[in-house]
Amino acid sequence: MKMLTAIIKPHKLEDVDDALAALGIAGVTISEVMGHGRQKGHTEIYRGNEYKVSYIPKLKIEVVVDDDLAERASDAIIGAARTGHIGDGMVFIGTIGDAVRVRTGESGAAAL
């Protein structure tokens, strides 16, 4: 079982979500995050003083999927989130030991 952690541009959420849904993936969890990477932030002037805005708002999407779906899911996210401009984000692929559905107690693949 894999947990994909994708960092994307906020306005790409809907596209990514649709791409995952097209693969039959219904479960996603989203958080608001800030970050920097190759995209570095920029400077602004406030009341006459320059300062650096270091962090750029992004969304983090966490999706847990069965191993065999992982690559397709990752590709789907990348396809949907790409604009080709700097700051498009990352997908991290980790391994999860188990998933349990709280309501039913199902675990493993059945839970997803």
Partner: protein, 441 residues
């Protein structure tokens, strides 16, 4: 406020306070009746506009004191109730309160309309300005209810309650005193409405709070109280400042006349006393929370301002400045001491409306006897009791009727989710915090 007895009351107050001889200026032909008419009308229009603004004050105070998941709904309730009060007080309330009460219990069931110029009472003020001024007082009483019952009462049942409150309940008890009814004959004094407006609203809120029950999670079975902090202290502060501002219209306009040296001086005295009592309420609340809890409680300081204002409202004219300080400071103390008391009784009042408007309303009404020699303890108690009994009983019947007809309270799940989603399908702050990503793009 009481137009039928205006002259007597004003003179009484004046005499009571200073035992002043008849003033030469007053007698002088310095101000023609028409000019007085214009001044009085202006007083009502400017004062009424300030009181109208209090509707926004209640909306902001309450929006700041509820959780963000209930903020849009409290806004809807507040603008809705103000609108309803404006229609009901036109269609029913005003004439029920003022038309032909004549020492009795009730006026007439007719609607108000603008008279022809020739039918204006040149010794008073333009009829429509009086209607406007009285209407905003009526709306204030309803505003008091919305805060106490926030975060759990459904929108329409609340607005239906307000419809009857502003169209019937408020006007009837108002008729008893300001309409020149039996309580007025009895010698009950209430200059600008500590009892008629604030306690009346407070009683309706108290009965409603008892019937509705507390918000989920506020009181545990074991008796522990879980405070539920409000979503925005600056909005609560803004609301309080708005109310403070509006109160100058509330109390000052209740002089009902401005066109002579004595009336202008009296209105000025009312402004000064009103501000002073509010200031004393704030300072009392700040000092008392610091002493009791080792920290100033901002929400209590805000309530303290309103407590001072409500306390001085029954008699803002006769007190000297030190008496205004005293009356306001006791109001501030009452709030600090009774807010936790209500919690001990498991009466859940979201914004402190009952301590501020009901308890301080009673205190203010009693305090009239401290400075106005025309007041009697018996008459003051009679007024407090009669209006308390009537408003409570009528509210009880009305709350229960609405409850059994269509239900008052949202479901447990809706309350947990928040009324904004369940009642309005609209969030107050759709982008902040937990709800943000949905609308980020």
């Amino acid at each position: 406020m009481m137009k039928v007895l205006r002259v007597t009351a004003a003179a009484g107050a004046t005499l009571g306070l200073m035992a002043a001889p008849a003033l030469a200026q007053d007698a002088a032909p310095g101000v023609s009746p028409e000019i007085k008419f214009v001044f009085n009308t202006m007083l009502f229009l400017v004062g009424g506009t300030l009181v109208m603004w209090m509707a926004a004050g209640f909306a902001m105070l309450e929006a700041g004191m509820v959780r963000s998941k209930n903020v849009a709904t409290i806004c809807a309730k507040n603008i809705g109730l103000y609108a309803i009060a404006g229609l009901m007080y036109w269609a029913v309330g005003y004439n029920l309160m003022y038309d032909g009460v004549d020492g009795g219990w009730i006026g007439s069931f007719t609607w108000f309309d603008h008279p022809a110029h020739a039918d204006e009472d040149i010794t008073y003020a333009a009829a429509s300005s009086d209607w406007f001024f009285q209407m905003v007082f009526c709306a204030t009483a309803a505003s008091i209810v919305s805060g106490a019952l926030a975060e759990r009462i459904k929108l329409w049942p609340f607005l239906i309650f307000c419809t009857v409150l502003t169209g019937v309940i408020y006007p009837i008890q108002g008729a008893w005193k300001w309409g020149g009814g039996w309580l007025n004959e009895f010698g009950f004094l209430d200059f600008a409405g500590s009892t008629l407006v604030h306690s009346a609203g407070g009683w309706a809120a108290l009965v409603g709070a008892l019937i509705l029950g507390a918000r989920l999670g506020k009181y545990s079975a074991s008796g522990r109280v879980t405070p539920i902090p409000g979503s925005s202290m600056p909005l609560a502060t803004l609301g309080t400042f708005i109310l403070w501002l509006g109160w100058f219209g509330f109390n000052g306009g209740s002089q009902l006349a401005l066109g002579t040296l004595s009336d202008a001086a009296d209105v000025s005295r009312i402004f000064a006393n009103t501000n002073t009592a509010a200031a004393a309420g704030v300072v009392a609340a700040m000092v008392l929370t610091q002493v009791l809890y080792k920290k100033v409680d901002l929400t209590m300081a805000l309530n303290g301002a309103l407590a001072g204002l409500v306390s001085i409202t029954a008699e803002p004219l006769t007190p000297s400045m030190p008496m205004a300080v005293l009356i306001g400071a006791i109001g501030g103390a009452i709030v600090v001491l009774t807010v936790p008391l209500l919690d001990r009784l498991k009466i859940d009042d979201v914004v402190g409306a009952i301590p501020v408007h009901l308890f301080c309303g009673i205190w203010g009404t009693l305090a009239v006897i401290l400075t106005n020699p025309e007041a009697s303890l018996v008459a003051q108690l009679a007024g407090i009791a009669a209006i308390g009994a009537f408003v409570s009983a009528a509210s009880l019947v009305l709350w229960l009727a609405v409850k059994y007809a269509i239900g008052l309270r949202v479901s447990e799940e809706d309350e947990l989710t928040g009324l904004d989603r369940s009642e309005l399908g609209l969030e107050a702050y759709p982008e902040f915090g937990v709800t943000a990503p949905a609308h980020v793009s």
